[in-house]
Amino acid sequence: MSLTQTHHVFAGVAESGINTFLKALFTARPHYLNYGSPLFVPASTVNATNIAAIPFPGVPGGIQYAVSFSIPVVDLFPPNAGTLSPIPPGNNQLGLHTTVTLVLGCMTWSGRVTGAEGHGQTRPIVCKLDVWALGEIVPHYFGPGTGFITFQVDDVRIPAIKPDCLQNIIDCLIRMMLNGALSNVQLPFNALSAGAFKLILEQGPQIDNDMVEVWGSI
């Protein structure tokens, strides 16, 4: 069977290529993986993104926290032999493995404290968790030669969390955070063919044979 099938051009990026793109992107722009409230990240830089503390009545300055992910590693369908993922990718899906580091600014204060800064003591509590996720590729097509693919996380499993109710909360929390982080991953069509041609998308993206595949014309 030809690569182009009933179309005129084909572009396919292997799992290794997708992971190279992710490594390049997150190495150049690590702020897409690292987030922290003002106590941990006073201002957004290329390395980390400043986010607001979680407001809570009576907690001075709100709850300070930080979240960071290691560079995700993608496993395109079919799943790698011997994968440890509790949710391996099915047809047209991708698996994703990362480590999330949660840091809570554990604050202690006495009496009634007012003002955003507060006057207590804060001790960071750090927890690293292994994260397995399941997702898909989403295309954004704007016309001949222009568009990109991005990732959407549909499910997350963090096996270390017990009991189940807490696991569900943390899984959902991390899924939302991971989705937010990965929404910044936009691989242009041009990169999918290493610049060989400007694709007019006709079919795909499809995940199969450990590749992200697209078809079209030029």
């Binding site: 182009t4 572009a11 290493a194 041609f197 590749m211």
Partner: protein, 261 residues
């Protein structure tokens, strides 16, 4: 398995070829060559367009009927004494005083010609991927001696030469009755063979080793552009590139790349 595979069928490869022809633009050259018994100086500009592709495994693209669009400015000198009889005014005497015998020497005349036409080229081209300085290229380079067909262009150029001769000589005194015969004689001396020989000499350097680049990307391949102080450009390095014609249920030009972060 390579990190990236891009494949183009015959139709898409034809489009890539046409883009490559446009990228070459117009090439120019000048020099001298034989036009029958004459020596012609020329300047030429050539561009390429069109052509149909046939993909032949493992690494050949047969391209038929590429248009060679050429424009020529050429000139050659004619010593009219080689073609016209000598012409002398006889000596005339009046009352013992005689005029000298005066013989007219015909001038050497430069004939300028401007001519444009399209020839066609058919040949086999070899597909090669190579790293050239900071860039990866996929070139298709013509093999051996290509077949260039000038078609009606040779006869048209001969006609243009005839018209140019007439225009260049008509001002010469006493030549009127001889002009038509002179032009015919010069054209006969040059002949189709002379025109074809000159066109071949002019066009050959343009098609010898003719190379179209159907892929051209920097080794440090930009994935995302710089989009702000916290979002610098994202690049990957193309560490290896391959190109070949593969045959399955249809033939395809396949470009494969390995990349590193």
């Amino acid at each position: 398995m390579p990190d990236i595979i891009a494949a183009a069928d015959t139709t898409a490869t034809t489009d890539l070829l046409h883009d490559a022809e446009t990228a070459i633009g117009t090439r120019t050259a000048s020099g001298g060559g034989s036009l029958g018994p004459f020596v012609a100086n020329y300047s030429a500009s050539v561009s390429f367009s069109g052509g149909t592709v046939n993909l032949l495994p493992p690494n050949v693209i047969e391209i038929a009927d590429i248009n060679i669009n050429y424009s020529l400015s050429l000139s050659f000198g004619i010593d009219l004494n080689d073609f016209l009889p000598s012409f002398c005014l006889p000596q005339i005497c009046f009352f013992g005083w005689c005029t000298p015998k005066i013989c007219i020497s015909w001038p050497t005349v430069t004939i300028p010609i401007s001519f444009s036409d399209t020839a066609t080229l058919t040949g086999d081209f070899t597909v090669t991927a190579l790293l050239s300085g900071p860039d990866w290229l996929v070139n298709v380079t013509i093999d051996g001696v290509p077949l260039v067909q000038f078609g009606a262009g040779t006869a048209a150029l001969l006609l243009a030469i005839g018209a140019a001769i007439t225009a260049a000589l008509v001002w010469i005194p006493f030549i009127g009755p001889l002009l038509a015969g002179l032009a015919d004689t010069i054209l006969a001396v040059i002949g189709i063979a002379g025109v074809t020989g000159l066109l071949g000499n002019i066009i050959s350097p343009f098609v010898s080793g003719l190379t179209f680049t159907v892929y051209h990307q920097p080794k440090l391949f930009p994935v995302l552009p710089n989009s702000g102080p916290n979002d610098p450009e994202v690049d990957v390095t193309i560490t290896a590139l391959g190109a070949a014609v593969q045959a399955t249920d249809k033939n395809e030009l396949v470009i494969s790349a390995s990349i590193a972060a």
